[in-house]
């Protein structure tokens, strides 16, 4: 029994010692080497998993594919009309901004990265990318896919890799705006890997399913205008000061293969 107690405390001390060395960054060179080896070996498995998922998507009914093509053609036509209206609105908006002497156009620097795996946490709401400190990435940098669709932010940075916390992680909190008449603001919070909710929306503002949600720019480091998703369900209780909405993320958070990290936000002023 005494021997067991000695062994237990000896192991505890060794674990504490290793954690101490990690905190003092003494183990960083060794950790970087091991991390590189693990990422190099996990990359083919991640690619294979993405390939399997693609094959699953391709094997659909022909009728279903035809339906999808027809629906996409309709959306494309609608988008062309919207693009013209948007251009007119944008010109009008620019003129008004000049008149009010209020310019706030933002420009930002970003870097592309590949997703090389998922972390080993049970709820799986974090991913690993192959860019790190050496590439100019820092903690809390926003991460996007496609044309500026926000999927998360940098949680942890190593020399050559980083861990991204997805927006459906329960510790993810990002300021957002709904593209309704009132431009309602709220807080996007993850739902423990299940989905995304927007909380603290003022009770008196009207939001509808289908409204687009974008970043409000109120979260440090996250520029305004990044698409998050669309409102799916509105939850409103008369006795509560705020209403909530369930948001359907535009990006498929379960299958991401390539991302862009916004490393710097430039604020430009005109005139």
């Amino acid at each position: 029994m005494v021997q067991k107690r000695k062994t237990f405390f000896a192991i505890l001390i060794i674990i504490g010692f290793v954690i101490g060395l990690h905190i003092l960054r003494v183990l960083t060179p060794i950790e970087n080497i091991f991390s590189s080896i693990l990422q190099w070996t996990s990359r083919p498995f991640n690619s294979f998993a993405a390939y399997l998922h693609t094959r699953k998507e391709v094997n659909t009914d022909i009728d279903q594919m035809i339906q999808e093509i027809l629906s996409l053609k309709q959306s494309f036509k609608q988008n062309e009309v919207d693009a013209v209206a948007l251009r007119l609105l944008k010109e009008e908006n620019e003129e008004l901004r000049k008149q009010l002497t209020f310019f706030s156009s933002h420009n930002f620097e970003h870097i592309g990265a590949d997703v090389i795996g998922r972390t080993v946490d049970p709820l799986g709401t974090t991913i690993i990318i192959n860019r790190g400190i050496q590439d100019g990435i820092s903690k809390d940098n926003p991460v996007v896919v496609g044309n500026g669709i926000l999927i998360g932010s940098i949680l942890k940075v190593d020399k050559h890799s980083s861990i991204v916390r997805l927006i459906n992680d329960n510790n993810s909190k990002i300021g957002a705006t709904i593209m309704n008449n009132e431009k309602s603001i709220g807080l996007i919070e993850g739902g423990y890997g299940l989905g995304v909710r927007m909380n603290f929306i003022p009770q008196n503002e009207i939001i509808s399913p289908g409204d687009t949600v974008i970043t409000s720019g109120l979260t440090t480091g996250v520029p305004r205008g990044l698409i998050i998703g669309k409102v799916e369900v509105v939850e409103k209780h008369p006795y509560e000061p705020f209403q909530q909405a369930v948001i359907n993320s535009t990006a498929d958070l379960a299958h991401i293969t390539a991302v862009s990290v916004i490393t710097q936000v430039f604020i430009e002023s005109e005139g």
Binding site: K4, T7, F8, I11, L12, I14, I15, V18, I19, H22, I23, E31, F34, S35, I37, L38, T41, S42, F45, N46, F48, A49, L52, G117, R118, T119, V120, D121, P122, L123, T126, I128, L155, K156, I163, R165, N170, N171, G191, Y192, G193, L194
Partner: protein
Amino acid sequence: MKKIIDVLLSIFLSFLLVILHIAFLNILPSPLNALNTIFSIIVLLIIVTNSGKVVWISFFVYFLLDIYSSTPFGTNLFAGTLTTLVIYWFHKDIFTNQSLLSTFVITAAGLVVFRLMYTCINLFYKDFLWSDLFIAYGWEIVCTVIVALILHTLFFIISKKMRPSFIK
């Protein structure tokens, strides 16, 4: 010289375990990707070798896992290494035989201990949706126990067949 080769082999085995675990995590569909490959193999090693060396292998394995994990460094290392020590003692003093029941009990009890310690440490850093977590842990225990039992059966069938009395 033999000791150096032993140490190098242990390091290599640890890397292999972690790579296998990450591979299954990525390839298997949900909920099968809840399988804790590392734990099932560690249990098999304890039952087959009955050696305390497995605790040091698990120390290195969970060190590697902590590098790869988004949880604070030391979470997997602390929980995993101490759990391996506990199940080693469990096997040495209580379930001392190499039966399927021993494998079943050691794997299930070990995982409960591991996830208890893991969750307690993580409570300082994040909050959980408990129902979701218990479902994830439940699937992990089911998948890992099944795989541990399969590995146990396969190992003992193969090792039995390799005995000199079977080879003529």
